[in-house]
């Protein structure tokens, strides 16, 4: 973890760089420039950019996405790996189109998380950590999401769904396009 700030000339890459590099629409590039503009040091934008690449590349950092990030941020390919694997919201493997993240921490646990998890998994026929064969759903048990007062809850993508009941879960899942 180099504490040195990224020099502005491109570094030689000490790990194999994926051949293909992701390309993004002008709108996305503009969005990325917007983030880069916030910081005196390019590397600071690594997390915001990872979310964008993840969004644009089917929910995870695929090799072309990683190559893009290293190039855009002027860091080594392994720097992307070291950061990506530290943060639980950055996916280095594909995930379902809908990522259902059920909070399992204490307040939710005692307010009915097990029932919700059982219901969701039963409905989708998978267990936590798995993705449905059609690639539509991934279910994960995650740590406190700051909805303890409105437990139990889960997050689908970035959307909070709180005060869950099995009936409410069905409504939510049925409503998904």
């Amino acid at each position: 973890m180099s504490q040195q700030f990224t020099p502005n000339n491109p570094l030689p890459q000490e790990a194999k760089v994926p051949e293909e590099m992701a390309v993004f629409s002008p709108e996305v590039e503009a969005e990325i420039d917007g983030h880069l503009a916030k910081y005196p040091v390019r590397r600071s934008a690594i997390l915001p950019l990872m979310f964008i690449v993840q969004r644009e590349r089917g929910g995870y950092l695929d090799p072309p996405g990683v190559a893009y990030l290293a190039d855009r941020l002027g860091v080594r390919i392994t720097d992307i790996w070291e950061v990506a694997t530290f943060y639980s919201m950055i996916n280095t493997e594909p995930v379902g189109r809908y990522h259902i993240q059920i909070c399992k921490t204490l307040s939710c646990k005692i307010m009915g998380e097990p029932e919700i998890t059982g219901h969701v998994c039963g409905r989708l026929g998978i267990s936590p950590g798995e993705t449905t064969p059609d690639g539509r759903f991934t279910v994960s048990l995650v740590e406190c999401l700051g909805s303890c007062g409105t437990a139990p809850m889960f997050q689908i993508g970035f959307d909070y769904h709180e005060n869950l009941t099995t009936a409410k879960v069905d409504e939510i899942l049925d409503a998904l396009p």
Binding site: M1, Q3, F5, K38, P40, V41, R42, R43, S44, A45, I46, L47, P48, M50, F51, L73, V75, E82, V83, F86, Y87, S88, M89, I90, K104, T105, L106, S107, K109, I110, M111, V142, E143, C144, L145, G146, S147, C148, G149, T150, A151, Q155, F158, D159, Y160
Partner: protein
């Protein structure tokens, strides 16, 4: 979800009553940015810091460090950029107050950051928000744009020669990034490991420049302090901790929610049993974890009839800590072994892996708890667990290690029977059997 001020005028929650309190228009009707105007018109940076010192405002992120004092550590004469960073990583189990402050009153936070920036001579400020709170980042971004359009953010704020930017930054799922130095690493695009202290952020923080990291609630309270004056703010609370504080309440109460109480609110029992509507389904209170998960668990008998005062000193006397002010209320149905297992799993998942005791200790403890949960507990496990906790406590690189140890230590101490049942399953069964027999 109840959001209510009790025992005091709503200060932080003042604007929550009205619709669209997150818009500048509504916020202005409550005098948003008047404090900033006052500061720019009539106060020197030193006076601002003085006022905050007078207010006895203490950090609401968990450490409870006097905010004015922290600000005064920033070297005025340093040629480097200075940064104000808002800690909106709110990941402490049982804590969700910052979330509502940002959702319902983003302008209060922005104003607070601008005042802090003015006091500290900072031109750039960041709000580090946990990645899961994406919708709050959007709210903050919109609020910042509104404020910029109205001339509160950006170049020459309100015509003064004070210019300041406010930027949002996203985390990506790591509790440890709530620790201020880990947060700074994360903000620099590195892994979220804590940094060695010293140097403290106030001297060498973000990009090795002087930096103040403050919690959302702390910064949101700053405009209040400026508006009503340090003395008046302090008067609301106690000698050592002034003003009001938000408490997140969750678990088995009838009215979970965010409550604003004056510092020193007595007493804890009344708060839970009346203000929060008492325990659900008429059940009995078993325990409360009052400071977010990282503090000692308090059994009912330490609360009922003990009039525990709700402030930093009061809760210590009561046997725990304020922490982030997240009450997790447990009723009699809860098996404290289970609840403790749930928490240690949290700390194992969130241990950053930097230092030996925290990384290996939490991993080992989880393995033990899982084994016990499988019915393979051994009588000597309790001793082993306590010894492992002792080997982590006070020896880890950052306080997360302690945070993992404390709940376990207190749980075993205060609820031995809940553990005994699991640790000596056969003995316990035999006991029950014999009880049943006669």
């Amino acid at each position: 979800m109840r959001i209510e001020a009790i025992g005091c005028e709503p200060l932080l929650l003042a604007r929550f009553k009205s619709e669209n309190s997150h818009t500048l228009e509504v916020a202005r009707t409550y005098g948003a940015y008047d404090a900033l105007k006052k500061v720019l018109d009539s106060m020197t940076p030193e006076q601002v810091i003085e006022e905050v010192k007078k207010s006895a405002l203490r950090g609401r992120g968990g450490a409870g460090f006097p905010t004015g004092t922290k600000w005064s550590f920033v070297p005025k004469d340093s040629p480097k950029e200075k940064y104000v960073v808002c800690n909106a990583d709110e990941s402490e189990p049982g804590t969700f107050k910052d979330r509502y402050l940002m959702e319902r009153d983003p302008h209060m936070l922005i104003e607070g950051m601008l005042i802090a920036a003015y006091a500290l001579g900072s031109k750039v400020t960041y709000i580090y928000t946990r990645g899961e709170y994406r919708y709050l980042i959007d709210i903050m971004d919109r609020a910042i744009e509104e404020a910029r359009a109205a001339g509160f953010v950006g170049k020459n704020i309100l015509g003064s020669d004070f210019s300041c930017e406010v930027y949002t930054h996203t985390g990506a799922g790591a509790y440890i990034c709530g620790e201020e130095t880990a947060l700074l690493n994360s903000l620099e695009g590195l892994r979220g490991h804590p940094r060695m202290k010293p140097p403290f952020p106030a001297v060498a923080g973000l990009y090795q420049s002087p930096t103040v990291v403050n919690n959302v609630e702390t910064l949101s309270a700053v405009p209040v302090v400026i508006t009503m004056g340090g003395e008046a703010y302090k008067a609301l609370g106690t000698e050592k901790s002034g003003g009001t504080k938000l408490w997140s309440v969750s678990g088995h109460v009838n009215l979970p929610g965010v409550y604003e109480l004056p510092m020193g609110y007595d007493d804890m029992e009344k708060f839970i049993m009346e203000d929060c509507g008492g325990i659900r389904g008429g059940k009995k209170l078993k325990a409360v974890i009052p400071g977010g998960s990282s503090v000692y668990i308090m059994p009912a008998e330490d609360i009922i009839g003990k009039d525990v005062r709700l402030d930093y000193e009061g809760l210590v006397v009561g046997g725990s800590m304020v922490g982030s002010g997240g009450f997790i209320v447990l009723d009699e149905t809860v098996d404290v072994f289970e609840s403790t297992k749930n928490l240690i799993e949290f700390y194992k998942h969130e241990s950053c892996g930097w230092c030996t005791p925290c990384r290996e200790g939490t991993d080992w403890l989880v393995k033990i708890f899982k084994r016990i949960a499988k019915g393979e507990g051994r009588p000597e496990d309790a001793q082993l667990i306590l010894d492992l906790c002792d080997n982590i406590e006070g020896k880890s690189f950052c306080p997360l290690g302690d945070a993992a140890a404390w709940p376990i230590q207190s749980a075993i101490k205060k609820f031995p029977e809940d553990f005994k049942r699991h640790l000596a399953p056969l003995a316990a069964q035999a006991e029950e059997a014999s009880v049943a027999a006669d």
